[in-house]
């Protein structure tokens, strides 16, 4: 027995059902979402790509100024802290936007692929302060637009992006025999070369040697990051002169150029080991922890026949009957769980890309005056209460609840989707923001999959047993309960179940949810159910 195409498309190849969204009812629909997603502008970096590319060198300049002051004997730790906090805040906002982006996008398959490839080419946003700004940029300008094209292009752009070069220490690697290397007493760093072979292309244990790793590292020398612009650049003076053999092919010459590395990347992308490794990883990610050969084989053949056209490879996967059967063997990763929960609850307002707070969605009022409230009922202060007035209640209550310095009755506009770069300096109602963060970024930290913070260059684990654990389940139940309480409104749980589990609902789940002692717990159980956690 298999589920309907719509349900499988949403659960296995998307971020779950979002009531009201046009369902995908055919394989070609899914592929169309890949190209649509590649053209779409994501919700991050929040200020847009070109603005972000201005902010990155500015951050470098601010940090450089600070170092200069310190060297001159006038250190300014406060300035340094401010600059760092701003970068951290930018990352935090972009991380939230990434979750919202996945929840709101109608191009679910593209979103899922973006997560797959950003994990495949993992970068740690907290590697440095510049990478806090660069990582969202990396996903937006490399991963998302290129994931439907040729693998070679995706690989090259990913490897050469400053976020990757910094994360895997290529920006510090210097050819030991290069003029720059001799002068600076700096040396080779193999990190990127190793991970490129082991994680990005051939795969561990595919037959390459330590000598291949070292040679590849030599080929990569010269590639670094400009300290002022923070763009990738090739600097011949630090490139190791000479010829280097990787997997039997010779790269380089006495006069090294960037082309040497580009040739290496092109060759790696076409190796059968690479094709095998990546097809296997795709099928493992989307279909089953034990990937069926029947699905992988036609994908490899398509890859070879098309020269690594990824959309054709995805199509070959979707063409296989097994891609549409045997549902429920995979567990959603935390990111997928949270995003699909937000989608099920229709929790994001497409107009503002903010989480819809059922308490405050209509309350166009200034944030509550917490200090005043605490003073009014001193014994309450310790309880840490917060207020959330619904619509219509503020007018008579304004005298009590409105901050004395606030414009009583006037409505601050909701923050636009694309926040200005300095939007963080004028935070919206703190309660609302905290609530949204608790259900998004913070929830993912607690569940063990913080956005853009993989535990290693290998990315996040995705095996079933890794994520079906007592503590993970407890976290997910708590999330489901909080989300249901905040976002479900007065939705009838029986309707909710039908809408979001569709034909994936098991008989006992339908029965138990229908008997739940209250609506809240019924909605919670829909979101906590095995079939909502599996795919």
């Amino acid at each position: 027995m298999s589920l309907s195409v719509q349900t499988m498309a949403a659960i296995r190849f998307g971020y779950g059902i979002r009531p009201g969204e046009n369902p995908v009812s055919h394989k070609d629909d899914l592929l169309a979402r890949v190209s649509a997603g590649a053209r779409a502008v994501p919700a991050f970096p929040r200020e847009g790509l070109s603005e972000r590319w201005l902010a990155v060198p500015q951050l470098q300049a601010d940090l450089a100024d600070n170092r200069k002051d310190a060297k001159a004997g006038a250190p300014d730790p406060d300035q340094r802290k401010r600059v760092q906090q701003k970068a951290e805040r930018t990352l935090r906002q972009d991380a939230g936007a990434r979750i919202i982006q996945a929840a709101i996008s109608p191009n679910g398959f593209h979103e899922r692929l973006a997560s797959f490839w950003v994990d495949h080419f993992s970068v740690l946003a907290r590697k440095s302060f510049p990478t806090r700004l660069l990582t969202p940029l990396y996903e937006a300008e490399v991963i998302r637009p290129l994931l439907g094209g040729k693998f070679a292009d995706l690989l090259t752009a990913a490897i050469l992006h400053p976020a990757m070069l910094i994360y895997l220490d290529q920006s510090r690697s210097v050819g030991p025999g290069s003029p720059g290397g001799a002068k600076r007493k700096a040396g080779l760093n193999e990190n990127l070369a190793r991970e490129m072979l082991e994680l990005h292309t051939l795969g561990a244990g595919s037959g390459y040697s330590q000598s291949d790793v070292r040679s590849a590292a030599m080929v990569l020398t010269g590639i670094t990051v400009n300290n002022d612009t923070m763009r990738m650049e090739f600097r011949r003076p630090i490139a190791e002169p000479g010829r280097f053999t990787v997997l039997g092919t010779v790269y380089g010459s006495d006069k090294r150029t960037l082309d040497d590395a580009l040739h290496l990347l092109a060759d790696l992308s076409a190796r059968p080991e690479t094709v095998h490794y990546i097809c296997r990883k795709l099928v493992t990610h989307f279909i089953a922890d034990e990937p069926p050969e029947a699905v992988m084989k036609p994908m490899r053949e398509t890859w070879m026949a098309t020269g690594g056209d990824l959309t054709a490879v995805y199509a070959a996967m979707l063409d296989q009957p097994r891609a549409w059967t045997d549902e429920g063997q995979k567990i959603k990763l935390p990111f997928d769980y949270v995003v699909s929960g937000l989608r099920a609850l229709n929790a994001v307002d497409p107009g503002t890309l903010q989480i819809i707070d059922t308490e405050e969605e209509e309350a166009d009022a200034p944030p509550p005056a917490a200090p005043k409230l605490a003073a009014a009922t001193p014994d309450m202060a310790g309880a840490g209460m917060a207020m959330a007035p619904p619509n219509g209640s503020m007018a008579p209550a304004a005298g009590t609840m409105t901050p004395t310095d606030g414009p009583a009755g006037s409505a601050p506009p909701k923050p636009p989707a694309q926040m200005k770069p300095n939007a963080g300096t004028a935070p919206p109602a703190p309660k609302k923001q905290n609530f949204a963060r608790a259900l998004t970024s913070q929830a993912l930290v607690r569940m063990g999959q913080p956005v853009w913070q993989p535990p290693s260059p290998a990315g996040f684990e995705e095996g079933f047993s890794v994520w079906v654990t007592p503590s993970q389940l407890a976290e997910r139940i708590n999330w489901a309960r909080q989300a249901a309480r905040r976002l479900a409104g007065d939705e009838d749980p029986r309707d909710f179940l039908k809408a979001v589990l569709a034909d994936a609902a098991r008989e006992d789940t339908i029965r138990i949810v229908g008997q739940a002692p209250n609506r809240l717990h019924a909605i919670t159980m829909v979101l906590a159910s095995p079939e909502f956690n599996r795919r």
Binding site: T377, M387, A388, S393, A516, P517, R519, S529, P530
Partner: protein, 391 residues
């Protein structure tokens, strides 16, 4: 309805003094505008009234509930020689002795037969005569007809507005930061949810066996404090300020399995909520306060095969506050003999719990019987002779 006091101790008194008890009128309230307080507590999940206030004097009781029925000899707190209070509610005894606590037995909403929690709670909160008759909450509709001043405001203690206070009239929602704790019945439901999925069942079982269950029950709250106490403290604090009406919920009552333990837990929360309200309000304001705790329906008269009870009909409501003349078990006891049970399984509802609520609105805020029976509880029969006006 020929309802009245069941308690033997009060039977004689009430019979002779019925006519002499002064009926509170709106005029009385006009003379003290905006001072009275009213709190509703929705007990979600169908509170087992016969476990809270056990009719140990009914000859059929013990046989119906061999595992749950207690007597004063086995720990029940005797109330009046016929009814006794569940030992887990011991913290409520001081209120009972101070005549600030009563119970109303064998009551229900007009909801019958289906026994769905969702629909039952909707009926309880909307105050209608049938499912989906009313789209707004009765407490919200009551706000429109109360002689109100700006000083009289209503508040829902929750993270979102509950149906009982939902509607066109202003009411505010306040949330304590610490979450409501999850009821043991809800935890039981989660176990059932995962029962047929071995991987999830195993994870759940381990979570429950370790302290992660405590995490789940606390809703992930960092502090170990009870959410209920925070909620009640918040409600009491707000009632000391501008607010006169507050409503909140206590979950944990759907005791299909292992009721003894689960029920005790929920009852302790209820007792904690009421005592916290009293403490927070202080003695002066408590005198002006009435608390009504009610549930969507009762539970089966018979214990089931898993040490619990299933969805029933007739239930029990609780009345507390310094403004009541308490220490009574009100209602007309229908009896537990086979031929007295509704459908041969449930305690027969002999009173409409909406009448109790109507009487409290009349007493506390002078809402007229016409408004009460037309706008707030459509189809309810209620007038100034209602015995609950003297409760």
């Amino acid at each position: 309805m020929t309802e009245f006091l069941l308690s033997r101790r009060n039977l004689l008194v009430s019979a002779c003094c019925l006519a002499a008890v002064p009926v509170l009128t709106p005029v009385t309230f006009a003379a003290m505008p905006g001072e009275n307080r009213f709190v509703t507590i929705v007990l979600r999940g169908a509170m087992d009234g016969m476990d809270l206030v056990q009719p140990y004097g009914d000859p059929a009781f013990k046989a119906l509930r061999p595992g749950l029925a207690l007597t004063p000899d086995t720990g029940l707190h005797d109330l009046d020689g016929f009814f006794g209070l569940n030992p887990a509610a011991g913290d409520l005894l001081p209120l009972w002795k101070a005549r600030e606590l009563s119970f109303v037995h064998a009551v229900s909403t007009p909801y019958r037969d289906e026994r769905s929690h969702f629909d039952g709670q909707d009926m309880l909160e909307s105050g209608g005569g049938h499912v989906s008759d009313e789209k707004t909450g009765w407490l919200n509709r009551a706000l429109a007809v109360m002689p109100r001043s700006d000083d009289r405001r209503a508040i829902d203690i929750n993270t979102s507005l509950e149906l009982i206070l939902s509607g066109p009239n202003d009411s505010d929602v306040w949330s304590p930061r610490s979450d409501f704790s999850m009821g043991l019945d809800e935890l039981q439901f989660l176990k059932r949810l995962y029962a047929n999925d071995p991987a999830f069942a195993k994870a759940m079982e381990e979570a429950v066996r370790t302290d992660m269950a405590a995490d789940i029950l606390r809703g992930g709250a960092k502090n170990g404090g009870s959410g209920t106490a925070d909620i009640a403290r918040l409600a009491g604090g707000m009632l000391r300020e501008k607010y006169r009406i507050a409503s909140f919920s206590i979950n944990g009552w759907d005791t299909h399995v292992g009721q003894k333990n689960q029920f005790a837990q929920a009852v302790k929360e209820l007792a904690l909520a009421i005592n916290t309200l009293k403490d927070t309000l202080g003695p002066e304001l408590w005198k002006t306060t009435i608390v009504v705790a009610m549930t969507e329906f009762g539970r089966t008269a018979r214990e089931n095969g898993t040490g619990g009870t299933d969805h029933g009909t007739g239930g029990c409501a609780l009345l507390a506050g310094g403004a009541i003349d308490g220490g009574k078990v009100l209602g007309k006891w229908p009896g537990l003999a086979d031929d007295k049970l509704l459908d041969g399984r449930d305690l027969s509802p002999v009173g409409d719990v909406r009448e109790l609520a109507a009487a409290m609105l009349f007493r506390q805020f002078g809402v007229s019987p016409d408004d009460l029976t037309a706008k707030i509880f459509p189809g309810l029969s209620f007038d100034r002779s209602s015995p609950y006006l003297r409760a």
